[in-house]
């Protein structure tokens, strides 16, 4: 048996390792070639992980070519919930993250994983639901609306449903925050019945699911606008201080995550995001399709809520 293994296992293993190394090198070149038909090939690749709402709205499809042209570097965007994005950052699998969960970000930075945080865009959350508004929450404050959704769902899960992201995302964090602000202990909500549906998907897919189920859902307004035509949902709760949603870019700290090797490019990326050019691009993104911009840029976007970042958090370049 040992002889047999020596005969084939060793060569096979060597071949496997060699081939997978070759495979690891060639596809990048190959893919760059494929891509060159549309754009061009790049010497370096820079990876970021992003919250799904920035991706599902098409914002990254819109901004990526601009970045790639300016820095002659491919921008690889991996879409994941904020929690997963931060985790990719901790592991050093990406060199920057764009996320929207203030509490998780603060933890990420105080643990030393992230540095050079800057805010680059904001929008608001809204609660959308079926036009019939079975829970009767139209125009209420978010906290009161959640109380009524809960009461309605517990009373009759066939009538009132709520789709939760349930995926460690920034939106999910916000949802839990609102339950808390409404006086609930979140684990009780989670266990309170069939009316409460945990999707485990990104923002866009969760909206599609809520639409299919005739359920209420908490969403950022941008993804809802981008998906609006595909959905049988209308905005029902649209204002409340707790609804502010700020998007931040954070570089991965090579001093803590030793495998992160692209801090200079991450800094370029962050400074590029808060540059006047890109801020203006963000201010106009979506106007042609939706008659209003999907996101507000931090610069000149008029963020006035108490939760808005300080001016230096989106004007002072990092280095």
């Amino acid at each position: 048996m040992a002889k047999i293994f020596k005969q084939f296992a060793l060569p096979a293993l060597t071949i496997l390792i060699l081939l997978s190394m070759v495979a690891g090198c060639t596809p990048a070149g190959q893919a760059a070639e494929n891509k060159s038909a549309q754009t061009q090939s790049f010497a370096t690749r820079f990876k970021i992980a992003t919250t799904t709402s920035l991706n599902d709205t098409g914002l990254w499809d819109y901004l990526t070519p601009v970045f790639e042209k300016k820095f002659n570097t491919a921008l690889d965007v991996v879409a994941a919930g904020t929690g997963a994005a931060l985790d990719y950052g901790k592991r050093g699998d990406v060199d920057a993250v764009t996320v929207h969960d203030p509490a998780a970000e603060a933890q990420f930075i105080s643990d030393g994983y992230g540095i050079n945080k800057r805010s680059f865009a904001f929008n608001y959350f809204i609660v959308v639901g079926p036009a019939a508004d079975p829970a009767g929450i139209k125009g209420l404050l978010p906290e009161d609306a959640f109380k009524k959704i809960y009461a309605g769902g517990v009373a009759d899960a066939a009538k009132v449903k709520f789709v939760s992201r349930g995926d460690n995302s920034g939106t999910y964090a916000k949802e839990k925050l609102i339950w808390q602000a409404a006086g609930f202990n979140y684990p009780d909500v989670e266990k309170s019945g069939k009316w409460y549906i945990e999707a485990g998907k990104g923002m866009g897919p969760s909206l599609v699911m809520a639409s299919e189920q005739g359920a209420y859902i908490l969403t950022d307004v941008s993804t809802f606008l981008a998906y609006g035509s595909k959905l049988n949902l209308i905005p029902v709760v649209e204002s409340g201080q707790i609804f502010l949603n700020v998007y931040d870019a954070i570089a991965i700290n090579p001093a803590k995550v030793t495998t992160a090797k692209m801090l200079p490019m991450a800094n370029n990326f962050i400074n590029w995001l808060i540059s006047d050019d890109v801020q203006n691009l963000i201010a106009t993104y979506g106007v042609d399709k939706y008659d209003k911009p999907l996101f507000s840029p931090m610069k000149g976007g008029g963020c006035k809520d108490p939760g808005c970042p300080k001016v230096e958090d989106y004007t002072v370049p990092v280095n």
């Binding site: 596809p27 891509k35 879409a79």
Partner: protein, 229 residues
């Protein structure tokens, strides 16, 4: 029903108009899974042959283990490979995660058991009398083995096609290891998964039809070649 019909019409349109993104995704899918099957075949067919032509203790157990891994869940392969090639993992230095190479590696591991196991079955399925006849006719041991391999070629090629089918149709490893990056690691299955979840059902259907089309063409071509030679 109308959705299905629209999907068909749309798929034909997308293929005929050579929609650059659809072509790019299809080419990447083909390329990634072809690389995976070539690597896996280069390893597994010889290994399968060695296992088949040698008798050793534990051979039966080994074959059983290989067969058990036929149904290796793609997401489990994805998870394990992720842990290995993540920068925090033992092979992190290669920077493979979220590249096409990562998907290839995942698919190779996914289809190795099937390819090895089916090679063994193919070879052991060849009638023993063929080997004896060859040896009796004065063939050397290696010539006899070659005769058996030639006899078993249909079944081995079948195994390769099956492996390719499993590779190109899997979504778990491609999603977890490639990250579904547009223009870099987005393949047919991850694109279909994304577009379906986004409610772009017609586009999903179109890509699905292309995926089935690719499988059909390959199957037909291979069968024609086999019949000719």
């Amino acid at each position: 029903m109308q959705e299905l019909w629209e999907g068909l019409v749309q798929a034909v349109k997308l293929v005929v108009s050579l929609d650059p993104e659809v072509i790019e995704i299809s080419v990447r899918s083909l390329y990634v899974s072809a690389a995976a099957i070539l690597i896996a075949a280069a390893i597994c067919i010889p290994v399968g042959g060695l296992i088949n032509f040698h008798d050793f203790r534990g051979k039966r157990v080994l074959i059983n283990v290989i067969q058990t891994f036929y149904s290796l869940p793609t997401v489990v392969v994805g998870l394990f490979v992720f842990l290995f090639i993540s920068r925090a993992g033992p092979l992190g230095g290669m920077g493979l995660l979220f590249t096409p190479g990562a998907i290839i590696l995942g698919q190779v591991i996914l289809i190795m058991p099937i390819l090895t196991g089916m090679t063994i079955s193919a070879l052991s399925g060849v009638d023993r009398s063929i080997r004896d006849t060859a040896l009796g006719a004065g063939a050397s041991q290696s010539q006899a083995i070659w005769t058996i391999i030639k006899e078993a070629r249909f079944a081995v090629v079948g195994a390769v096609i099956l492996g390719f089918g499993r590779a190109i149709s899997e979504v778990g490893a491609a999603m977890m290891l490639g990250g579904n990056i547009r223009g870099f690691t987005r393949v047919l299955t991850t694109a279909i998964s994304l577009y379906t979840q986004e409610g772009e059902l017609v586009l999903s259907l179109a890509l699905g039809i292309i995926l089935i089309g690719i499988a059909t063409v390959i199957n037909v071509v291979v069968n024609i070649l086999l019949q000719r030679y």
